[in-house]
Structure formats: C-alpha cells, structure tokens
C-alpha cells in the first residue's frame, strides 16, 4: 500500500521536500512507517532521531497500527512559542 507521509521542520530540508511517498505493508505500525521514511531519506536518515509519527488526532506510539486513511506526518522535536 502506498501512502503519502508529510514531513515537517528540519525534515523539510532532507532533500525530499514536504511530502514523501512510501510503500507500506498491510496493517503497518508507526515504527514500520518511520523505517520506510528512513530508507527514503538515505544519508539524511539520522534526521529522524527524536521524531514520531502522528495522524491528525494524536501522536502514534511505535507499535501502534497506523490508520488506513487520513493524514500521516513525521514530527521532529517541537519548539513552538
């Protein structure tokens, strides 16, 4: 299954722009999505340190299955304010 993954903050400068397309297994977990994003980022995969996956409602734990629909985003450590 192909999914669009949104990238934010420092990940936007990782050479892939603001959106990444990755192929995921059925019932993929958040960890599997992050691993797929890491593979796509190649030499910039270290930028994923401290990042989490989220949908439009919540941050997802690593072992949580990602929802089959809706937005998915990789979020670096935050610094609003």
């Amino acid at each position: 299954m192909r999914r669009r993954i949104e990238l934010y903050g420092r990940l936007r400068d990782a050479g892939q722009g603001a959106v990444l397309s990755v192929i995921l297994p059925e019932n993929a977990t958040a960890r599997q999505v992050l691993d797929a994003v890491g593979s796509a980022l190649g030499p910039n995969a270290s930028l994923l340190h401290g990042c989490v996956l989220a949908d439009g409602e919540n941050v997802l734990s690593a072992r949580e299955q990602v929802p089959s629909k809706g937005r998915l985003a990789v979020l670096p450590p935050v610094c609003g304010g």
Binding site: E6, Y8, G9, R10, R12, D13, G50, C51, V52, A54, D55, G56, E57, N58, V59, L60, S61, E64, R71, A73, L75, P76, P77, V78, C79, G80, G81
Partner: protein, 146 residues
C-alpha cells in the same frame, strides 16, 4: 461556546484575547505574548519561519486550554501564529481570566510550557548573515488516553 484557541497565519490580537476571557466575576487577568527576538545565541535574526502540522496543533492547543481550565478555575484563550514573522512580531498570545491572581499566573505559565512541550510547531531562524537553522526542540511522545 465560541472556540478560544486557534492556529493562524494572521496577525495576533492579544487585546482581543484578553477581552474574550474577561468576566465581571473575575478579579484577575494574566497574559503572555511571545515575540520574535532580534538576537539569538549571538546571531542577528531578521525573521523566523513557523512551520506547523495544523490539524494536530489545533487539537492539541484546545486540549491544553481545556486541561488548564480543568485544573484551575480559569478561562483560557490562546493563539499561535505560523508563517514568516519579522523581528518584533507576536508569535504566541495567551490570555487567562480568573477570580484571583494566583490561578491566572499559574494557568498562564502552564499553558505556555505545555505549548512549548507539546504543540507540533517548529521554527527556523533566518539570520542577517549566513544560512538559517531549525531550532532544537522537545521530542513528542504518545500521551496515554485520559
């Protein structure tokens, strides 16, 4: 009830936020306005870009305000601006109204610190000289359902 939290690309209006939380029953009001500073870590800043995962940020900001209102007898309003902001422009505004001063101060500080810890917002400083840089931040974690 009108929503008193939002993420916006428009200029903030702290006075309007303060009016939104005012009440004849309140004897205290506290507010906070965060602005873009001209110098950071010895480098001269010309602007800051605020990036945001809006759907989650809107919900998280509303959750933070609701948590403050559950913890203290207060009314909270908060707005976070996104986009490119020049030095001196307001990026964050919080207003809290309450019966007495202690809970206004405490709730205002709580909302500010939770925003910094939980809101999916990132800032990239743009300098007068040299390349910009994304500022380091606080890693997010899955919060247990409450």
């Amino acid at each position: 009830m009108r929503r008193l939290t939002r993420i916006t690309s428009s200029r903030l209006n702290p006075a309007a936020l303060s009016r939104a939380v005012s009440s004849a029953r309140h004897g205290a009001a506290a507010s906070f306005v965060g602005t873009v500073r001209a110098v950071h870590a010895g480098r001269r800043v010309k602007a800051v870009s605020y990036d945001c995962f809006a759907p989650l940020a809107e919900k998280e900001l509303a959750r933070i305000a609701a948590e403050a209102e559950k913890r203290w007898p207060v009314k909270v309003a908060a707005e976070h601006r996104i986009g490119l902001l020049s030095v001196g422009h307001a990026s964050l505004a919080i207003a809290v109204g309450s019966g007495h001063r202690a809970e206004s101060f405490e709730a205002c500080r709580f909302v500010l610190e939770e925003i910094k810890r939980r809101l999916p917002v990132w800032k990239k400083e743009r300098y007068l000289r040299g390349e910009g840089r994304w500022l380091p931040g606080c890693a997010l974690h899955r919060k247990s359902a409450t």
